[in-house]
């Protein structure tokens, strides 16, 4: 399952993307030189520190943030050969929702409080699938049913604030899946869901992926979900992708110190409850003073002068496993240091 | 409805085309803009000019004024006065029909006149104790308690005029006014849409008195089949409507616009000396109780400025100390002219000093509802200030103004514009309590005027009284003003006497 045919077409290619917010004094590089490509039918996972730019990057693919804040882009995002960043905004609506759809991280704020769930779901169906109202309604019920919402008939008549957090999230998911997009951007889609429902959702995504060849950009903190779902994983830290590998490879031999730190922090069912959970020491530097060299240098136990001064190149450790670090070779020493 | 009033722009539309009678080349309907909804069409009870103007077309009195202000028979045929001057025997014209088809007889006249005597405040005041009686079907008598020279003038008075109604109406009418409008006049009442218009139609059976049309007398032809008096309260709207031809005539157009209107070829303007702007001082209470201070007030006034500011166009005002129309041969007088238009602030200051005036507040009450009164008050205030008075204007809506004006405790001065009266006794300044003036000199003076043996004596007596008013500083005329009525220039045979008279008027297409 993880061996997506390498020869399949590249659907989305992000090249050297930088997304800069207008800060108070300077530009804030929320995304700082990201290269990422997603093939048709590939499920790409993104993990990373909170605030590392995952949501911004993914929303940039649909150019959603520029309606709200002052944003500057650099680089390019090629989707089906077109550079999205160069398209006129007006033509974005043909891509959005139809070819690329997105599940937002915060479901309540993302649902329109004055329309019923059914109304909001039908809207997208009627828009892109040219369905009649009745058809759209039926399809909505079907979709909600797939996400495991109890009594979807009632749900479509409810308003978002009448739903529980998990239900809201499932509505978002159903809405994003409605048009069977070529690319699904799922920004922490299962945070509010319990394991059983989560399972159901992940299955649903996999099924669509298999059936329609839908590509997925899956952003999550839930490493187990990631392990289960994704073909390959990108690890982001402070606006950059620091490691990239096939899922099994990444979990088996994480190369970047940050990745390793991350994997060690998970509370498992066998973690000793009396002991403190391991953490990566230090705090993420704010976007106002991003380190010059390796972005992780402020927290890295292995960091030396070079790390602080020079940005590390992306190195291919094994085929398909890339890491952006000066020290990836010193695996043994690092392991000691982290533990 | 009023919507059909033919403005020139829509004369082609169907609804207005029907209003034109193609045979004679004159309009079938005259649209006449009046300033307010008439309170009633019962001329007995209301002294409203608008009511009288409209009612004049429907009803007729026994006598009316001709253009020279002489009482002239209308429904009366002739009259005789007994030697002692107490009994008037009046013969009625025969064959006059009311609009309901009944013939007018002495019973109708007696009933109407008796009611008029009872309910009309003017008649009430001047003819108190008089009695009308029927002699035969076409003859009545009027018996007055004292012989006075002005009985016929009162009978012919244009405001609250003594209209003749059918007996049944006159006798059954409540004091609130009649509800059935039946008279003998050239027009019949047709429709009254409250707040919008009063519509009159030609009385086909009308029998006109003979003679050249003059004032309210002479031949009346009802030349235009329909008269529509449209209530247009706003000045600017009347002006605009006249310019567009929406209205054939408009009353009470601000004199300020004379020049502008005169330039417009489609309009013609009728003017008439119509009244005087008067200043009344509170002689009974407050600071102005002091005659010296009142004199100081008179000394400070510059009537030219006052009139210029309140009337606007200089063609429309004249300066004259008399309380009557200058052309009124009998009563116009310049007694007291040394007190008039003194424009002498220094003298005023000196008088004030003498009187020991201590900057007490002097209140001028006024109302913005009458622009000329309001403006004049402001100028007077400014002139008084220049002369060292502490003058303050209190401005109220009309009703409140009337309340303050009537209570000597609440004002020191006020200005009103008063239409010309015909007799000194009718002057409000002589009415006790009008502005608080109630001195023996005044009542003596009135007695002298009414009881005077000859017209000259009466004039003389009035001269003295007018002089007294100035000397006492009770009131002052500020100036005289004219009114204008603007009509389309296509209107013929229109007369602007006391009110605009339209019964002979036509407008050619």
């Amino acid at each position: 399952m993880k061996n997506v045919e390498n020869q399949s077409q590249v659907l989305l290619e992000i090249k050297d993307l930088r997304v800069l917010f207008q800060g108070r004094k300077k530009l804030l590089p929320a995304v700082d030189g990201v290269n990422l490509s997603i093939r048709q039918g590939e499920i790409v996972g993104v993990v990373g520190e909170s605030g590392s730019g995952k949501s911004v990057m993914s929303q940039t693919i649909l150019r959603l943030r520029e309606h709200e804040s002052e944003v500057q882009y650099e680089g390019s995002i090629l989707f089906d050969g077109q550079d999205i960043l160069k398209l006129p905004l007006a033509s974005m609506s043909k891509i959005r929702g139809n070819q690329i759809s997105v599940i937002f991280q915060d479901p309540l704020t993302s649902l329109n409080p004055v329309y019923t769930v059914g109304n909001q779901m039908s809207e997208v169906l009627m828009l892109h699938k040219k369905m009649s109202k009745q058809e759209a309604r039926e399809k909505s019920i079907e979709l909600l049913n797939l996400t495991g919402i109890p009594s979807p008939e009632r749900c479509i008549k409810q308003y978002p604030f009448e739903l529980s957090g998990g239900m809201q999230q499932r509505v978002m998911i159903a809405m994003a899946l409605a048009c069977e997009p070529k690319l699904l951007i799922a920004d922490e889609p299962t945070t509010a869901l319990d394991v059983t429902i989560q399972e159901q959702i992940l299955d649903l995504i996999v099924e669509l992926n298999k059936k329609l060849g839908m590509s997925v950009l899956f952003i999550t903190h839930d490493l187990s979900a990631m392990a289960q779902l994704c073909h390959s994983v990108r690890v982001m830290y402070l606006g950059q992708i620091v490691e990239e590998a096939a899922t099994a490879e990444l979990f088996a031999c994480p190369s970047h110190p940050y990745t390793r730190g991350l994997l060690s922090c998970i509370p498992r069912l066998d973690t000793d409850r009396e002991e403190e959970l391991p953490v990566i020491p230090g705090v993420v530097p704010p976007l106002t003073d991003v380190p010059v060299g390796c972005h992780f240098c402020t927290r890295c136990t292995l960091a030396d002068e070079k790390c602080r001064e020079e940005e590390p190149p992306v190195t291919e450790v094994t085929p398909g496993h890339k890491v952006k670090c000066w020290k990836y070779g010193q695996t043994e020493k690092e392991k000691e240091a982290v533990q | 409805g009023c919507g059909a009033s033919g403005s020139s722009s829509d004369s082609s539309s169907g609804s207005t085309a029907s209003t034109a009678s193609t045979s004679t080349g004159t309009k079938d309907v005259l649209n006449l803009a009046i300033t307010a909804n008439p309170p009633t069409l019962d001329s007995h009870i209301s002294d409203s000019n608008i009511a009288a103007e409209i009612a004049m077309n429907i009803y007729e009195p026994l006598f009316a004024m001709n253009a020279d202000y002489e009482p002239t028979a209308v429904l009366a045929d002739s009259y005789e006065v007994s030697d002692d001057g107490l009994v008037y025997t009046i013969k009625l014209r025969q064959g006059i029909k009311f609009h309901n088809g009944d013939e007018m007889k002495a019973d109708d006249v007696v009933a109407s006149m008796t009611r008029w005597l009872r309910v009309s405040s003017k008649a009430n005041a001047l003819l108190d104790g008089s009695v009308f009686a029927k002699v035969d079907d076409y003859t009545i008598t009027l018996t007055v308690p004292q012989a006075t020279s002005d009985v016929l003038q009162i009978l012919a008075g244009p405001a609250q005029f003594a209209a003749i109604y059918p007996q049944s109406i006159a006798e059954n009418a409540s004091d609130d006014g009649i509800t059935e409008y039946i008279g003998t006049g050239p027009y019949k009442f047709d429709d009254w849409k409250k707040d919008q218009y009063v519509q009159l139609v030609k009385n086909e059976d009308y029998q006109s008195p003979k003679g050249e049309p003059s004032g309210f007398t002479g031949e009346k032809t009802a030349a235009t089949p329909t008269l529509k008096y449209i209530v247009v309260t706003d000045d600017a709207t009347r002006e605009a409507g006249l310019k567009t031809g929406e209205y054939d005539s408009g009353e009470d157009i601000s004199q300020e616009f004379y020049a502008e209107m005169a330039e417009d070829d489609s309009l013609s303007i009728a003017t008439r000396a119509s009244g005087s702007l008067n200043l009344f001082l509170n002689t009974t209470q407050g600071v102005l109780k002091d005659e010296k201070i009142r004199q100081a007030v008179l000394a400070a006034l510059n009537s030219k400025d006052i009139m210029a500011a309140s009337i606007g166009d200089e063609n429309f005002y004249t300066l004259d100390p008399g309380w009557f129309n200058e052309s009124n041969a009998q009563w116009s007088s310049d007694a007291g002219k040394e007190y008039y238009n003194q424009n002498d602030p220094d003298k005023a200051k000196k008088l004030l000093e003498e009187a020991g005036y201590n900057n007490e507040k002097i209140v001028l009450v006024t109302t913005p509802d009458y622009n000329e009164m309001y403006n004049a008050t402001l100028v007077v205030q400014e002139e008084l200030r220049q002369a060292g008075f502490n003058a303050e204007v209190e401005s109220y809506d009309f009703n409140t103004f009337m309340e303050h004006r009537a209570d000597p405790a609440q004002f020191d001065m006020f200005i009103t514009s008063n239409g010309y009266n015909l007799l000194p006794v009718q002057l409000s300044v002589l009415t006790a309590k009008w502005a608080g003036l109630d001195t023996p000199e005044v009542s003596e003076g009135i007695k002298a005027i009414r009881g005077a043996a000859s017209d000259e004596d009466a004039s003389k007596a009035w001269d003295d009284l007018q002089l007294y008013l100035y000397e006492y500083g009770a009131a002052s005329v500020l100036g005289h003003y004219s009114d204008m009525v603007v009509t389309t220039s296509k209107m013929q045979n229109f007369e602007y006497f006391r009110y605009p008279v339209f019964w002979n008027a036509t407008v050619s297409q």
Partner: protein
């Protein structure tokens, strides 16, 4: 919901009671009874007093009030001194023109204000916004009578496109009716349009950046639908209030316009009855307008619940 409507309608009873006291008090306080106007300028104080006494205006407050209330409860709202007709009839006759005028003005208002308000909000900070705001400020700041006179002079006197003044009832044909209403409706509508434009703009601005707008865009909804469907409905409560208010305001706010354009509506009725102290008419009209207001606001309040389900007026 039905119980809420019922409650609101029941709450009319105390409202009317309170309003009747207030309005009666106000009318009682205003100096001068109807006599001064009935008798005219030359009347003496004695005459005025006598007539006022006769008409019952010198009786104690409570007696007068009781009398009036009893009559009103019996369905007799009194008789106008001025028009010599029952107050209810007078109101009935004057209501139609005002209503027509208000509806026309409201239509005019809405045609201009909502689109421009939305546009200004959507393009805030740009020239379009600045121009819209400035123009609407002119609309707000220009005194009604000046605007009316200007329109009258321009379209009536100079261009002769429309009649300068007057009123044609609906029975005289709809076209005619409209011709007469057009200018007054515009002059009445301009200030309201300006107001609603500004209101629309500001309430739209508040929802421009909501998360669900982002979602709508992400769904591929066209900008126009984003604006009209997703933003507008969220901004609607304030806009609806403004519209309700402007409509209510049109009912009473017609004094200047009706006088200038000579439309025999409620505005004219109320002004002449105040001027002439036609007390029963004043009281009747105010009470009537209160009723209209309460109803308009009831409708507005009910629509809140329809446009924004979070607002539940009926909820305890």
């Amino acid at each position: 919901m039905p119980s809420y409507i019922l409650k609101r309608i029941l709450s009319l009873i105390p409202v009317f009671f309170v309003m009747s006291v207030v309005i009666f008090l106000v009318v009682y306080l205003i100096p001068g009874g109807p006599a001064a106007s009935l008798l005219g300028m030359e009347a003496s104080q004695d005459q005025i007093n006598a007539l006022n006494t006769e008409l019952g205006f010198n009786r104690p407050f409570l007696v007068q009030y009781g009398d009036w209330v009893m009559n009103v409860l019996r369905g007799d709202w009194g008789t106008s001194y001025l028009l010599k007709q029952p107050v209810l009839q007078a109101i009935g006759e004057h209501f139609a023109p005002t209503m027509s005028l208000a509806v026309c003005a409201e239509i005019f208002t809405l045609i201009f204000s909502i689109p421009f308000g939305i546009l200004a909000a959507y393009k805030h900070g740009t020239t379009v916004d600045t121009v819209t705001v400035s123009v609407s400020m002119v609309g707000v700041a220009i005194p009604g009578f000046l605007l009316s006179m200007f329109l009258m002079l321009l379209f009536g006197v100079t261009l002769k496109w429309l009649p300068v003044a007057g009123y044609a009832a609906m029975s005289e044909g709809f076209g005619q009716h409209l011709r007469y209403l057009l200018l007054p409706a515009i002059s009445l509508g301009v200030a309201q349009a300006a107001y609603i434009t500004r209101m629309t703009r500001s309430s739209m601005m508040d929802v421009l950046y909501m998360g669900y707008i982002r979602t709508a865009r992400a769904k591929g909804v066209r900008e126009s639908a984003v604006v009209f469907k997703h933003m507008l409905k969220n901004a609607a409560p304030t806009i609806l209030t403004a519209i309700g208010q402007s409509f209510g305001g049109l009912i009473t706010g017609t004094i200047v316009t009706e006088t200038l354009f000579n439309i025999p509506g409620l505005g004219m009725l109320i002004i002449s009855s105040i001027n002439q102290r036609d007390v029963f008419v004043i009281q009747g009209v105010v009470l009537f307008v209160t009723l209209v207001y309460v109803l308009v606001n009831l409708v507005v309040d009910l629509t809140y619940g329809l446009v924004d389900p979070r607002i539940q007026m009926g909820k305890k």
